[in-house]
Structure formats: structure tokens, C-alpha cells
């Protein structure tokens, strides 16, 4: 068997699946994840990689081929080889499934392979109980992930928080992320959603969402999200398939904690962002705490630490801010930087100092709730 592949394309596709075989920890728990399956049938090829939690399937165009093949190759090694090469094409030859010879120009690598028949199989997850689909532009899904995923938990015993919640209603599609102290939520009203009797909620692991984000970046078309009981399947228009297990368990009742406030102030986003960034230099030495002090028509951003202190006045505010509220500066900055427009709308409860604050930008579909710090 002999195939000739386009070097540039192979490099790109290996980079896409490389995330799956990422960490040594994953490989230790599931050795297959260090390898991928290369299958050639007639004139079309495919790449399949899995780490048990997620799986990716990509199509690969074949320049020339002699005979069908099924090979199980080490992802990292082949990626490193392809990355170093500057030739147009590479040739992969195999006499059996135990070795391959990779040739490019005058260079020649002989690599050991694993048994392709014991590698897990890709099964399209259709027809397993109830199946629902959502369709939206890939760029939009990417935006939704970018605006929420940062707020997901790092590592928590409640690993339902180390994730993204996909919440689907007949009229809209929403992503939610929270780490227990702040929450980011974005709702899309344009997506094609299924006719549902009850709301549909599935929890997608953070790691899978990161992998998906990478694939979406290269997709100009749409993405079809197919949700079954235990799996979510993302089918990109360009032919990439991404499959992930969902997290079983209950997501915390996030809708209950989103407040509706009358009181609101609007702040210049740029001024606010600048002041927070400067404050962070001092605050990072002292538990990351910044203080927002509202006066009539101005806002003072303060930070203190054993080595010094900082304060800055923002004049461009409308409405009234609470007298004094403390925040983890990262919790404010990370959200503000992701908001559209020139203004940040700050909604709060004037009666209760330690109640959540709601931030929005001009993109009203994106909402951020953050808890203050006890000063």
C-alpha cells in the first residue's frame, strides 16, 4: 500500500486532532489517545482520533493511492515529522499494519504502528433514544463559547461546573458557564432549534469545549449540533465530526440567581477596562481585590496592597453606582473584555451590598453575573 498526501493539509489536520491526545495524563488512562486511525478507501481518506471522552473524525484528500489501508499511527510523532518538512507532498508506505515508512524528498522515516483493528470505532450517534438537532453558523457558536467558557470552573469537586451548559428551548439556544462565584450566559435567537416540549439541558465538559473551539475557528459554514442522551455530536459543514460525552448530573439552578434590577449605571468600557488593568498591578499582590466607589457621576477604582495603593477616577458614568463594592479584578476584566460596544451597563441592588451585580455590554444577548467580595 502506498499513498501520497498533501503535506500542508496533513499538518493542519494533525494539529486539529493533536488536542485529543494532549496530556500525558489522558494517554496514561487511555493509551489509544496517543494514536490516530488513518483509513484510505478508494480515493478518500479519513482520520479518526479519540480519548474515550471525545472523538474527532476528519476527511483527508488523497493525491494518489495504491490500495486501501487502515493504519494506527502515533499522532505526536507524525505531527512532528510533518511539521519539520518543507516538501509539497509526503508518501506513506506500508507492507503490513505494523510499520509505515514516511518519505518526503530524500528523508525517510520508519515508524512502528499499533494494531488498527483494536482501535475504537467511530459510530454516528444517531438513533439512540431521543435525538435533537440545533443548527447555527460555526462562527456564532465560536463567539458563544468565547464569551462563556472563561467563566467555567477550573477544577472543582462539583465538576458539573467545570463545563459549559447547553440549554435549548423551542425559541432559543443558550450557553452558560459558572465557577460558583460568577456566571456568563449568552442566548441565540436565530439558531434552528428543535420543537421541544420540555427544555433540554446538556452539560459539555470544559476540555471538550476547548477542543471544539479549535475546530470551529477553521469552519466558515454552519455547524449542526446533534444531542442524544449521553453524547453531543458537532458536524461541521466542512466535514469535520466532533463527538463528546456529556457530564451526567444536575447543573445548578442558574436561572434562579439571575437578578432583575431597576438600578443601573453605565460606564465607559475603555475607561473602566484601563482603570481595572492598572488596579490589577497592585491588587494582584493582595488577593486580587479592587474596590469600586461610586460618587455622584463618577466612579473611583481603588486597590491596596502592602507595597502601595492605586486609585483612578472614571468621569464618564451615567446613573448611580453603589458607594463601595469589592471585586476580584479578574472577574470584572475577563467579562468586560468580551463585551461589545463602548459602554458597560452595571446593574445592582442598592439595598444589599453583597448581592450579585449584573454586567452587560451593547450585545444584550450576553449577560454576566458576578458576586462581590466581602470587604
Amino acid at each position: 500500500m502506498k499513498i501520497i498526501l498533501n503535506c500542508k493539509e496533513l499538518r493542519k489536520k494533525l494539529a486539529q486532532i493533536k488536542g485529543i491526545s494532549g496530556s500525558a495524563k489522558v494517554i496514561a488512562s487511555f493509551p489509544f489517545s496517543s494514536h490516530f486511525l488513518l483509513e484510505i478507501k478508494g480515493n478518500s481518506g479519513s482520520i479518526f482520533a479519540t480519548d474515550q471522552e471525545t472523538a474527532i473524525k476528519l476527511f483527508l484528500s488523497v493525491e494518489e493511492t495504491e490500495g486501501d489501508a487502515k493504519l494506527c499511527i502515533n499522532t505526536g510523532v507524525l505531527y512532528d515529522i510533518v511539521n519539520e518538512l518543507d516538501t509539497e507532498t509526503i508518501t506513506i508506505e506500508a507492507k503490513d499494519s505494523e510499520h509505515v515508512v514516511v518519505k518526503a524528498g530524500k528523508s525517510k522515516f520508519k515508524m512502528n504502528c499499533s494494531d488498527p483493528d483494536v482501535y475504537p470505532q467511530w459510530n454516528d450517534p444517531l438513533y439512540e433514544g431521543n435525538v435533537y438537532t440545533v443548527v447555527l453558523p460555526a462562527k456564532r457558536l465560536l463567539e458563544m463559547i468565547e464569551k462563556t467558557l472563561f467563566a467555567a470552573g477550573e477544577s472543582d469537586t462539583r465538576f458539573t461546573l467545570n463545563s459549559l451548559l447547553f440549554h435549548i428551548e423551542p425559541d432559543w439556544f443558550r450557553l452558560v458557564a459558572t465557577d460558583g462565584s460568577r456566571l456568563a450566559m449568552i442566548t441565540d435567537y436565530e439558531a434552528e432549534t428543535p420543537a421541544l416540549k420540555d427544555p433540554l439541558k446538556v452539560i459539555v465538559p470544559k476540555r471538550a469545549s476547548l477542543g471544539l473551539r479549535k475546530l470551529l475557528k477553521d469552519e466558515p459554514g454552519s455547524v449542526q449540533i446533534t444531542i442524544t442522551e449521553k453524547l453531543v455530536w458537532f458536524l461541521l459543514e466542512g466535514g469535520v465530526s466532533f463527538l463528546t460525552r456529556t457530564i451526567e448530573g444536575n447543573y445548578p439552578p442558574y436561572e434562579d440567581i439571575i437578578p432583575k434590577y431597576e438600578n443601573m449605571a453605565s460606564i465607559s468600557k475603555e475607561e473602566f477596562r484601563k482603570a481595572l488593568r492598572l488596579a490589577s498591578i497592585v491588587a494582584s499582590e493582595n488577593g486580587s481585590v479592587v474596590k469600586l466607589e461610586g460618587q455622584s457621576k463618577s466612579l473611583t477604582v481603588k486597590a491596596e496592597s502592602p507595597t502601595g495603593n492605586f486609585n483612578d477616577d472614571i468621569q464618564e458614568i451615567y446613573g448611580e453606582m453603589p458607594e463601595s463594592t469589592g471585586f476580584n479584578y479578574r472577574y470584572l476584566l475577563e467579562a468586560i473584555e468580551r463585551m461589545e460596544g463602548e459602554t458597560i451597563y452595571y446593574r445592582f441592588d442598592p439595598e444589599e451590598k453583597l448581592s450579585p451585580v449584573v454586567l452587560t455590554g451593547d450585545d444584550t444577548d450576553f449577560l454576566y453575573v458576578v458576586m462581590p467580595v466581602r470587604l
Binding site: D156, T157, G180, I257, G287, L354, M371, V373
Partner: protein
């Protein structure tokens, strides 16, 4: 790290108070001076914790119950210990030590290590420092102390033990082999009866023999501790004087308790663990800290002591989480003997600065803990506590080995 310590010649002082509790009592009550006095813990367990040198002459020993002690010395005066008095004295003693070096490690309520390597020349040498500390303690508190000086903590401790009471001894580095040669291994700090027995089975009775023993033999019998034992036999010890806990960052928060009667039943042990977890949790919350590693220390009736650790998924200061971790460590241990002491420690601490949780369930949990802490702060520790902690054993209030004047032990 080890290299650095070995190559640098150090001078370590150990100040060890003579019959500390008894001396303090004698100082407070002049009627007790010059008489055989035994201090007992409070509560139902009336065991001698310290006895004055006058009482020791009659054979009164730490660990005897009052009956045995009175058998040995019928005119013995038994005093119930006042721990607040001792801990206060200890904190005051620390101030004396700090006049001579910033590197002061309060090892226990009556022992402190001082690293004077870089400061001894300022005071006319280590012996001079030792003398001045002894004089100052005598002047301020009227009690005597023994000072041991050596090239490391092990030898300093040995020097103090040899010179007791009211002594001062400097074992210089070059003298170490000679001093250790015929010394029974049990005289070394850290070698208990149990290890001594096992060493004797290998034909090792003296430190000299221990130092010469092939490391392979020791390792096969004692595991990684084997190398450590050999080094001890050679008088080598690399432990650093950890310095003042009051400065810098707090590294761990812990509590331990010796019980009035040894515990054997699981419900009793878990109840005490909950109490300890609550004490640790309350203190961590007060300092606005959270920790990721929970350690459980168990001391058997035979005084054999060990510690097991568990790393949490995420840091906490919630009593319940600390308790669950401690309990899960306990589940992994098959207790061989009744338990005399339990300790719970939280380490790998991080500053949290009061970030409020978003979800109601956690908010209620936080509010509950906060209210309990406030009440307990105002009306005394464990005024409000968990139902499972009710009806505890009466605590005699023994000062734990981990007690520190600053409240928190810095080292792990």
C-alpha cells in the same frame, strides 16, 4: 538544599525548660518551692504531666497516675495544671530568645531551637548567649533552663538532655563522634523505645554502632528511614530552624487533642474528628484562608504517632469538607491500638479575601459557618457546634505539641 546545609557550619541552641510546668507553679506559689510537686492535666485523667526535680528524686515520673505518684512519694503536692499560664510564659520566653536571633523555632511549649550561626559573634559567642538566656529566664520567671549547643538540632537537643537540670553544654562538631560512641540509641531525639528495640534485634545498641551500620541493612528494615537513622548515628541532622511563625505566610492550620481516656470506638473517634475539623475550619475562616491538603495525625496509647495526608480537588475552609477528608483518611487506616491523640491540619493555604458564592445553597452554607464563627468568637470556642459533637469527653486542655505562641504552626 541539603548540600547547602551540610557545608555551612551551623550553631544551634536548644533551650529546654527544666520541669517547666512544675517550675512555673513553684514560681507562682512560693509555698511550693523546694518541695516535690507534680502537675497533672485536668479532667478525669489525672496523670502527671510534669514533676519538679524534688519529686523526681522519689521516682515520680511523667505518665504516672496520681495514685502511683503518691505511692512513690507520699508527701507529693499535686497541682492541677493551668495551661493558660504556661502558654503565656512560653510567649514571653520567645521574646527573650528573639533578642539574640530572628531564627527562633518554638518546638514545644517548653523547648525552643535558636539558630545563632550568623549572630553569635555579636554577643560574644554561643556559650555567652546560652548563659545570658539562662540568666534572663531566671530573672524574669525564676525558673531554670538547660541549654544545649551543637552543630545541628539533633546534637543541640542531646547536649541539653545531657546537661539537665540547669546545665549548659556545647558539643562541638569534632566532639560528636566521641560523645555518640557509647551513647544508647534511645538517647537520641526521635528514636523511641520501639525503634530502639528493633535496632537491638539487629545488634545495634549504641549510636556509634548505628553510625557504622551498613545503610543497606538499615534500609531493608526501616525503609527510607534507614538512611536517616544511620545519619542520626553519625550525629548528622539537616533540619533547619524554621524561624518565626509570626512573620511571613502561614503554611498550615492545625489542631490536635489528647483525650482524657483513649478512644477506641469509631463513633467517638469520628465525633472528635468533627470537633477538630470545626476548630481548624473556624480558624482558617478567621484568617480568610482556604487549604487544599488535609492531614490526620493519630497517636496510639503506646505513643506511636503517624500522619496521613489527603489532597482535595479544590481548596476549602468548610468544616464539613475538612471533616469528610479526615474521615476518609481514617477509613484507610486499620487502627491497631486505642487512640490517645488526634490531630487535623489543613495546609497548602491560599488567601481568599471573602469572595462571595453565587448560588443560594453555598451562600446559606457560608452564612451558617459565619454566624457560628461569630457566636463562638464572642461566647467562646464551640459554644455553637454541630449536633454530632454534643456530649464530648471532657477535655483536660492538654497543650498539644503543635501549640505555638502565634497560634498557627508555620512548618508542616
Amino acid at each position: 538544599m541539603l548540600q547547602k546545609v551540610i557545608t555551612e557550619k551551623r550553631i544551634i541552641l536548644l533551650v529546654d525548660m527544666d520541669a517547666f510546668f512544675a517550675s512555673v507553679e513553684q514560681q507562682v506559689n512560693p509555698a511550693l518551692r523546694g518541695k516535690p510537686v507534680a502537675v497533672t492535666g485536668g479532667g478525669t485523667r489525672t496523670v502527671v504531666t510534669t514533676s519538679s526535680y524534688e519529686a523526681r528524686k522519689f521516682g515520680v515520673k511523667t505518665g504516672m497516675n496520681t495514685y502511683e505518684a503518691l505511692q512513690a512519694c507520699p508527701h507529693l503536692i499535686i497541682v492541677k495544671g493551668d495551661h493558660a499560664r504556661y502558654t503565656h510564659t512560653c510567649a514571653e520566653l520567645k521574646k527573650i530568645y528573639q533578642q539574640f536571633t530572628p531564627l527562633v523555632e518554638i518546638y514545644s511549649v517548653d523547648e525552643a531551637f535558636l539558630d545563632v550561626t550568623t549572630t553569635e559573634h555579636l554577643f560574644g559567642g554561643a556559650v555567652e548567649i546560652g548563659k545570658r538566656i539562662k540568666t534572663e529566664i531566671k530573672r524574669q520567671f525564676g525558673i531554670s533552663a538547660s541549654v544545649g549547643i551543637g552543630p545541628n538540632k539533633l546534637i543541640a537537643k542531646l547536649a541539653a538532655d545531657i546537661s539537665k537540670p540547669d546545665g549548659l553544654r556545647w558539643i562541638k562538631e569534632e566532639e560528636v563522634p566521641e560523645v555518640l560512641e557509647d551513647l544508647p540509641v534511645e538517647a537520641l531525639w526521635g528514636i523511641g523505645k520501639r525503634i530502639a528495640r528493633r535496632l537491638e534485634a539487629l545488634g545495634i545498641k549504641t549510636c556509634g554502632e548505628l553510625g557504622r551500620a551498613p545503610v543497606g541493612v538499615l534500609r531493608s528494615h526501616f525503609g527510607i528511614m534507614g538512611e536517616h537513622l544511620k545519619m542520626m548515628g553519625e550525629g548528622i541532622h539537616n533540619g533547619e530552624v524554621t524561624g518565626d511563625e509570626g512573620d511571613g505566610e502561614v503554611k498550615s492550620v492545625g489542631h490536635s487533642m489528647t483525650f482524657p481516656v483513649d478512644l477506641w470506638k469509631r463513633p467517638e473517634i469520628s465525633r472528635e474528628l468533627l470537633r477538630l475539623s470545626e476548630m481548624v475550619g473556624a480558624r482558617t475562616r478567621r484568617y480568610e484562608l482556604r487549604g487544599r491538603v488535609v492531614s490526620l495525625t493519630v497517636r496510639y496509647r503506646s505513643f506511636e504517632t503517624f500522619t496521613r495526608r489527603r489532597r482535595l480537588e479544590c481548596s476549602t475552609n468548610d468544616t464539613r469538607r475538612i471533616y469528610r477528608a479526615a474521615l476518609s483518611i481514617l477509613d484507610g487506616i486499620r487502627l491497631r491500638e486505642p487512640v490517645r491523640l488526634l490531630g487535623v491540619t489543613l495546609s497548602e493555604l491560599e488567601n481568599i479575601r471573602g469572595q462571595r458564592p453565587l448560588f443560594h445553597e453555598e451562600q446559606r452554607r457560608e452564612d451558617l459557618l459565619r454566624s457560628m464563627d461569630d457566636l463562638n468568637q464572642r461566647f467562646g470556642t464551640l459554644t455553637v457546634t454541630w449536633g454530632a459533637c454534643i456530649n464530648p469527653l471532657r477535655h483536660p486542655g492538654v497543650i498539644s505539641p503543635a501549640w505555638r505562641p502565634s497560634g498557627i504552626r508555620k512548618s508542616l
